[in-house]
Symmetry: C2
Subunit: 638 residues, 2 copies
């Protein structure tokens, strides 16, 4: 057994740690077919996309159906500072340690980052330092086109909505029906298969268009969408704040049918959440078809299949459902797949990637998957939304903590991106750390409620002192962690996470933990919201603004009340108030509104306002990005 | 030598000809590496994208630089009916004949179709019948992501424009300069490399930000874009008519900075034209950087590089510059690359694909490339814009004609998509055909002005009679064609185009024709426009509306008057009036406006209004499109 003391890095690490892109470009990735072979994929089970990426076919699960699953590890974080605490980096470093040092079969499952922010403020999302997915440029740009497919599908549905309203406005019932079901050369009308879905929903048990009564024809052909009810917006994978609120239809040909709407960034599309939760093509087809875009003037939900477009959306998404295989700096395999927002969506990578990974690594192997935001958000949604969809349950939670964040929770001054850190954060202050460990402790106790052991990964920064780190370790153990381990994977790669890897191996060595969901989906919407608020956030109660009350009533009436809950809350506090650090309790959680992602399969209560379209600063980082046209290498990506 | 009489099809052809998708799915494509090997690509000269597509690296041109080029054949068409005359199908059928029957080395270069229309009215654009590129689903959907890359690049530039105006509105000169050139930790300011381009343009020969005078700082930092001058619009690869005219910036955070603009379909982006005309990465970088988005309040052009985004655009487009290798139904190689509009852009596939193809096929081989629209548009732009950019010149023009279109030109009733053909088109009427051959004759004579021999491909339809076909043949020969051949490749594949292939081999057997451009780019804008109008369209003269006059003056002042001309004119007549069939002359061509694509490198005079965003009908074809989730096969794509 490899222990962490004096592990020699396999990577030629430098001090100080160079920039992410310099490290990423200093290591030549191996041909992805080598990674595929090592992880047990057969050549016909993946498609190459160049030599460093491959799309993995879902049917590998069928070949390996008889295999036992590997250990399932979810990486979550304490309540973070705006600078981030290194959750992705820890996920990747842990896997480099498990694979390259402990020689375990391992597979990392991470989200695909949005391309938009790559050109704005934030840099890439492929890990950092000596714990990265490479080529990082590929990961941060088009990858294998999944996000582009989502843009195309989302916007086809959006176009279908406005144009359907237009054609309904300008045609009689009869003309509309005749156009939707035109007679063929023999004078025979036929329903397209997707139309049978609408007929079934309307309770019309006829398959011959000629047999419909005029009233049925009208009900079938006229969706009668209430423009004010439309929740479906367009998306684009660009940080374009001027598209947040727009008026469409201002051309003369659109005959005055204007509408106020807007664009969100693509990863916030419900289709991204569908991709992350779908278990196969058939399941994705059903989810896409039942996505609700608004309601008709009678209050009935209008779906993508009502618009006739569910099948076309599936066709656009058929390749996107295959996860993309990449590699870490230490040649361990990575599946990059889906990247739903962690506020209005569930913030976890795909179900299918995790399922494939668990079969590939087998009984003695490990799948490490990352949950977005702090554990109160990302881990809670992992447990109650993702695990419910996948049928999988975790063997271990790895909770990432930093001295920096804990000092903030202990009462340290605000940490603000782009401004220098206060000296409290750069010099020893054990008192602040100890005071802040209440945040860590609560996250640990929250995780234990699911029946899952917790290993705390203390992501060491250069200015952390031994006394500070020890204070975190002790607090973690006292709160019930199975282990708490100091890590240095940013500067050392897998070598810096060998102790963490050993702790994860030890924590998962026993029998599978008995998993418990936090709530029964059959509870009412309010009961589910209150369970999360009280059990995870330690709120004293929940208050609902009138809009939220109305939506809860509406969704209950529509039959969507049995869906799990996806809280859209700040990640910067257990509460709704980002300035409340530490472990606040006794507050009343306000629910402003409730929305539904019926295709993805959850309701999302809004706790505060959520940004779904980032902007660009005065000097976006695109100023530094260019191509060395002689070598084809990208420069300036951070 | 194979002759066309009684050539047995290698494909198992059926009568009547099945639907395009049924034919396409009935032939199993071979692994694309086999196609690559057969065409002489080394394994490190292409990247697989799955097993049926590969991106070809540009450096193959360097390895083969010493090779002689193959014969360069451009396929153009007579003035078409709205139903299309089978130009793509003929291009592909000719190549199937050259490769599979005459055993010539051959490579087909075609445009990538837009995804938007795939879900609207028109079906795919991968040829038809037994002359198709396969898998046709891949060709009509995401392919290898080039169009998605264009969307991303186009819209990053669009976002950069609005947000820059926003930051300029809300900041002082000094704050703006300081944000653009922030001091590093040592207090030192530095220009990003892209900023040096702006400084050079402003005539500021300083590289140290500290040395700029306050006036220079202001001039550098404040682009001062005149909102009314902005010609750069956003794009999306979806038929979404409600985005044609929109108002952006209506959110409170945008502080009242609203603007009327709109979306076009992605293929109409200038970046698509840049992709089609760029000769390598370095050339693409320069073209993208010099794209003009509008002008400042002093009337100076504002470019992508002024906005600091030229490098980032290049990074987004770095993979898109590699053509995608596919195959025909008869396993001949195809390069699919770029698909600029044929009205506001030049309507031809990429320069690099043709260059690669000519080197790969070598002295005895053939590259067949397609020009969009009728020859008065697509061929003229091929000659004067594409060949000017590439340095290549054609060996032969293949002009596609149909009896149907010639009957229309001879005075037949209008041909309207979606309504049954008049019986004049389904029964013999040699008189109409003969009368309409004036259109064919003029296209032949136009082509001959470039010094290039013309082979007429008469695309035979089921109801054409021998007498009608013979009338076309005779007229073509009389007008100066080298040959005129009846083809049946739609129903027979390459076997149906063996005579055409033999005619092309014969027409190109001699020494390279002496090529002549139609005009010298150093002529004035008006002289160039008038040359095209008179020589190609047979106009008596040109009239300029006041807006066009103003733009000509403006572009001349800006120094853009030496660019070639890309006429945005209807393809349905030689004139500006789509109803004037045959070979009209003596008309005055009205120029409504003149626009510039400075990065692509042409000016485009607008002759009438151009549709740059299609809509969706009441029953879009997406109603029929779905995925068979058991097999993964697409159904209902036409």
């Amino acid at each position: 057994m490899v222990t962490g003391a004096d592990v020699k890095p396999l990577l030629a690490v430098k001090t100080p740690v160079p920039s992410d892109i310099d490290i990423a470009q200093s290591v030549e990735p191996v041909h992805i077919s080598k990674i595929a072979e090592a992880v047990g994929l057969q050549p016909n089970e993946y498609d190459l996309y160049g030599i460093h990426k491959a799309k993995v076919k879902l049917n590998v699960r069928e070949r390996l159906a008889g295999n036992p699953d590997g250990k399932y590890v979810v990486v979550a974080g304490i309540t973070p500072t705006p600078l981030g605490e290194g959750k992705s980096t820890t996920t990747i470093g842990l896997c480099q340690a498990l694979g390259a040092y402990l020689k375990k079969k391992v597979l990392t499952c991470v989200r695909q980052p949005s391309q938009g922010p790559t050109f704005g403020i934030k840099g890439g999302a492929a890990g950092g330092g000596y714990s990265q997915v490479i080529p990082m440029e590929e990961m941060n740009l088009h990858l294998t086109g999944d996000i582009h497919a989502i843009t195309a599908a989302n916007n086809l549905l959006a176009a279908a909505i406005d144009v359907r309203m237009f054609h309904e406005r300008t045609q009689t019932d009869e003309a509309l029906f005749n156009r939707l079901c035109p007679a063929d050369k023999q004078g025979k009308r036929k329903f397209a298969p997707v139309m049978l879905r609408r007929l079934a929903k309307l309770g019309i048990a006829k398959t011959d268009p000629e047999e419909l009564t005029p009233e049925e024809r009208k009900d079938f052909a006229r969706l009668d969408i209430d423009p004010a009810s439309i929740t479906w917006r367009r998306v684009i994978d660009t940080n374009d704040r001027f598209l947040r609120a727009i008026t469409v239809g201002k051309g003369g040909e659109e005959r005055g049918q204007t509408r106020d709407t807007g664009f969100d960034i693509t990863v916030s599309s419900e289709i991204m959440a569908v991709l992350a939760l779908a278990t196969d093509l058939a399941d994705m087809r059903e989810r896409l078809g039942r996505m609700v875009v608004g309601n008709d003037t009678k209050g009935r939900p209008v779906t993508a299949d009502d618009l006739g477009v569910g099948g076309a959306l599936t066709v656009l998404m058929k390749d996107a459902i295959e996860p993309t295989l990449m590699q870490t700096l230490e040649q361990t395999p990575v599946l990059v797949h889906a990247g739903p927002f962690a506020n209005i969506a569930h913030g976890n990578s795909s179900v299918v990637a995790d399922q494939i990974g668990l079969k590939l690594v087998g009984a003695d192997g490990f799948v490490v998957t990352e949950a977005g935001f702090g554990a109160d958000i990302g881990m809670e949604k992992f447990m109650n939304i993702k695990c419910r969809a996948s049928g999988l349950t975790p063997d271990c939670v790895v909770l990432v903590a930093t001295v920096r964040a804990l000092k903030m929770h202990g009462g340290g001054p605000p940490v603000v991106a782009g401004t220098p850190l206060h000296h409290d954060y750069t010099t020893e202050n054990v008192g602040l750390v100890t005071a802040g460990c209440c945040n860590l402790a609560r996250h640990i106790q929250n995780a234990l409620k699911y029946g899952t052991p917790v290993v705390v990964a203390i992501n060491r920064f250069a200015c952390d002192t031994d006394a500070e780190l020890e204070a975190v370790r002790a607090a973690a153990m006292e709160a019930g962690a199975s282990a708490a381990v100091i890590c240095a994977h940013h500067g050392l790669g897998g070598a810096g996470a060998v102790d963490l890897a050993n702790a994860v191996v030890a924590a998962t060595a026993g029998p599978k933990p008995a998993f418990k969901f936090l709530y029964d989906v059959n509870l009412s919407i309010k009961e589910k919201i209150e369970t999360i608020a009280k059990e995870m956030y330690h709120a004293a109660g929940v208050e609902y603004l009138p809009e939220a009350e109305a939506q809860i009533e509406k969704y209950t009436r529509m039959g969507f009340d049995k869906l799990p809950i996806c809280m859209a809350k700040t990640q910067y506090s257990f509460s709704h108030d980002a300035t409340k650090k530490g472990a606040p309790s006794g507050f009343i959680l306000p629910i402003r509104d409730v929305r539904a992602s019926v295709g993805a399969g959850f309701l999302f209560p809004l706790v505060g306002s959520m940004m779904t379209m980032p902007g660009l600063p005065t000097r976006p980082c695109f100023y530094d990005i260019d191509l060395d046209t002689a070598t084809g290498k990208i420069v300036g990506l951070s």
